[in-house]
């Protein structure tokens, strides 16, 4: 079902990261694995990552998209820090998406601080992959336009 659709040259790179201190890594690992099976190049950070660690991994690996997983309810606090960090380093061209235990009432706030997509519980793997692919494509197109 989840067959690769892209050749190596066009392969997009995604960082899947656990921001904050919650240890619920089931979702992050499933997403990392699914994205890999959909043909992405995936880097998974493991749990308990700070914004600094995530940003440095994203820059070092030159990723196209950052996917954050948080299930502790502290998503707004942590995402604000992450987005501030990205902006201060001029790395806010990397699109950021998030998934986890996020109440629908928080989606607007997350969008406002610059999160490109919020995946709520029950989201399909295929749609996550589609959205991530679109965002990655958009980032590369902007780069080549500038470049």
């Amino acid at each position: 079902m989840l067959s690769p659709q892209y050749t190596k040259e066009k392969q997009y790179k995604v960082l899947v990261a656990k921001l904050g201190i919650d240890g619920h890594d089931r979702g992050a690992k499933v997403i990392a694995r699914a994205l890999r099976d959909f043909g992405f190049d995936v880097i998974y950070t493991g749990i308990r990552q700070t914004p600094e660690q995530i940003i440095s991994a994203a820059l070092q690996e030159d990723v196209d998209v950052i996917g954050i997983s948080i299930l502790s309810g502290s998503h707004i606090y942590h995402m604000k820090k992450l987005m501030e960090g990205l902006r201060s380093l001029g790395a806010d061209d990397i699109p950021v998406v998030i998934g986890g235990t996020i109440p629908i009432i928080d989606v607007e706030e997350l969008r406002r601080i610059g999160i490109r997509e919020v995946f709520l519980p029950g989201e399909s793997l295929r749609r996550i992959a589609d959205v991530v692919r679109e965002l990655a494509k958009e980032k590369r197109e902007k780069e080549s336009y500038r470049g």
Partner: protein, 566 residues
């Protein structure tokens, strides 16, 4: 031998079954084909169309079931089960600071809860103080913040610790939280002999699933065993460990893996304690377990029954336990958090009710029922009350609790109980060959198995091989239903500020000499392989904070970083 069926009856049943399959069934299948080519349980065990005595033809009643309160305890650990005393209705709760949680505990007691169960926030679970940089934005969210003995005192003000029993879901910092609890009970004038409750204190499953590990596997196990050894000698009513399958299951394992890995954890702990020179009968009766009750009704019931039988066998035959209590698998159950959906959230009330019924039919000693709003946040009072009422309806209205183990003898349930048991034994054999669970965990074996199972399941959901109402079948476009769920509201920033303020006041007002001495004595004990519990108790009383105690231990034991495998 107490066979249920003689050979002649079995042969006759087999003949008539074959006749039915040949003459009756095809006509029906022709008219309306079955809904699926093959049915399986949630754990992928194939489920046949029909079970008959033929499926349990060699069933030896006394050997497999016996009677309630007798070996192998398949039918229940007590001779009277719920006819005498209902299970403990123990709602996992905690949020904000000790003040908020104290209010919630009193609310639940007032509405008929019969035991307490504390959920801690992430900083507490990891043993860091609210003013630690890693704790920022996390204080009081997924549970209550309890960084000092003073917080524990506030949380239990107006609650008699000699009368309630309290479960604490806490692992690496379990000795610290137990010390806060014992210290608070002492101040209430409660004798050690009356302090009752449970510390989860199950280090191995932290590496397999829950992932709130702090120390590397070996010192983590040592800390856990120190607590158990101290507790069995000092707190006769305390359950020093709750060997937990729950988190393994929630992380995506199958029912069989949950059962096998948890029992393998238990085997490791028993060996560790025996190697310390303890007699198995001096501690085994204090070991308790914790299971998930998922949505596949019969699979869960079979799992609970198989669990009791396996543990009794292990304790008797592997470890030569003599006392019957040493062979009892006493357990707490929680309905499956992962089965709840954010879509059409009110449906979660129904899911929880089904899962709670399975737990009761499986003979649980205590039960937590999830609230329907938990896909979003820690439950509101309103939602928690419905969850508690669900248990009360099962207990007082349904009649489910009025006869013992009513599903015994069901061809399907007995077949499935055997099947789950056999599959679990295979896993346990594999783990034994790896050198036991501590070694298996160090090699990443159960971690990989769980990761694999969770991905398989997610693919089934994606492919609609497994259905979730509201998620991949009977979906609604309407989201007002979700928007209108009344969520618990509290000011997290204010709570974080208050918790920081309290801890700095405590740091400023304590006896520095006693505080410093307690921590340096603790460090020496940790380095020398002396049981650390008495030293942690002294440090807690000397107003050392959770973070300070844990940091002292981290300096000796180091910390664990998991390789990021997916």
């Amino acid at each position: 031998m107490t066979y249920l069926y003689d050979k002649r009856s079995i042969n006759e049943i087999k003949d008539s079954l074959e006749r039915w399959e040949k003459e009756v069934l095809p006509v029906w299948l022709d008219r309306v084909p079955e809904r699926s080519e093959g049915f399986t349980t949630l754990s992928d065990i194939p489920v046949k169309r029909l079970y008959t005595p033929y499926d349990i033809q060699d069933f030896d009643y006394n050997k497999k079931l016996g009677f309630p309160g007798t070996h192998p305890y398949t039918r229940g650990i007590h001779a009277t089960m719920y006819r005498a005393r209902l299970w403990t209705m123990r709602m996992f709760s905690g949020f904000g600071g000790p003040e908020e949680t104290n209010k919630r505990l009193k609310f639940l007691i007032e509405h008929g809860e019969t035991g307490l169960s504390l959920a801690f926030d992430y900083p507490t679970l990891l043993g860091i103080d609210p003013d630690d940089s890693m704790a920022q934005g996390e204080v009081g969210i997924v549970g209550v913040s309890v960084p000092t003995i003073e917080d524990m005192k506030i949380m239990f003000s107006g609650i008699n610790m000699g009368e309630v029993t309290t479960n604490m879901t806490i692992n690496p910092p379990a000795p610290v939280l137990l010390s806060f609890y014992v210290g608070t009970a002492e101040e209430q004038g409660v004798d050690y002999s009356r302090i009752g409750g449970t510390t989860q204190n199950d280090p191995l499953k932290e590496f397999i699933a829950q992932k709130s590990y702090v120390f590397p596997p070996e010192p983590a196990v040592r800390v856990g065993m120190d607590l158990i050894e101290w507790s069995v000698k000092n707190l006769p009513k305390w359950n020093p460990i709750s060997i937990s399958g729950y988190h393994i299951r929630e992380a995506g394992s199958t029912a069989v893996q949950e059962l096998a890995f948890t029992i393998a954890d238990g085997i490791e702990y028993v060996r560790q304690l025996i190697s310390r020179g303890l007699d198995v009968d001096d501690f085994a009766s204090r070991l308790s377990f914790f299971w998930d009750s998922h949505i596949n009704f019969f699979e869960e019931i079979a799992k609970f029954r198989a669990a009791r039988r396996m543990w009794a066998t292990i304790m008797k035959e592997w470890f030569n336990a003599k006392k019957s209590r040493s062979m009892w698998m006493r357990f707490h159950t929680q309905t499956a958090g992962v089965s709840l959906t954010a879509q059409q959230p009110w449906n979660n009330i129904i899911r929880t009710a089904i899962e709670a019924m399975a737990a009761v039919l499986g003979g649980t000693q205590s039960l937590h029922t999830n609230s329907f709003d938990e896909p979003f946040r820690v439950p509101s009072e309103f939602a928690a009350k419905i969850a508690l009422r669900t248990q009360q309806i099962i207990a007082y209205e349904s009649g489910i609790a009025d006869t013992i183990d009513p599903l015994a003898g069901s061809y399907y349930v007995e077949w499935l109980t055997d099947e789950i048991e056999n599959r679990a034994w295979d896993y346990i054999d594999r783990i034994e060959r790896l050198g036991g669970m501590l070694e298996a965990v160090k090699k990443g074996y159960p971690q990989r198995e769980v990761t694999e199972a969770s991905y398989t399941y997610q693919r089934y959901v994606e492919e609609k091989k497994k259905y979730i109402v509201g998620v991949n079948i009977f979906e609604d476009r309407e989201i007002d239903e979700i928007r209108n769920v009344p969520l618990l509201e509290y000011n997290q920033e204010e709570i974080e500020r208050r918790q920081k303020e309290r801890i700095s006041k405590i740091r400023a007002s304590r006896n520095l000499e006693r505080w410093e001495r307690s921590l340096s004595e603790l460090r020496k004990a940790a380095e020398k392989d002396i049981n650390i519990m008495p030293y942690i108790l002294e440090a807690a009383k000397a107003r050392a904070t959770l973070g300070e105690i844990m940091n002292t231990l981290k300096e000796v034991f180091g910390t664990y970083v998991e390789p990021p495998i997916y």
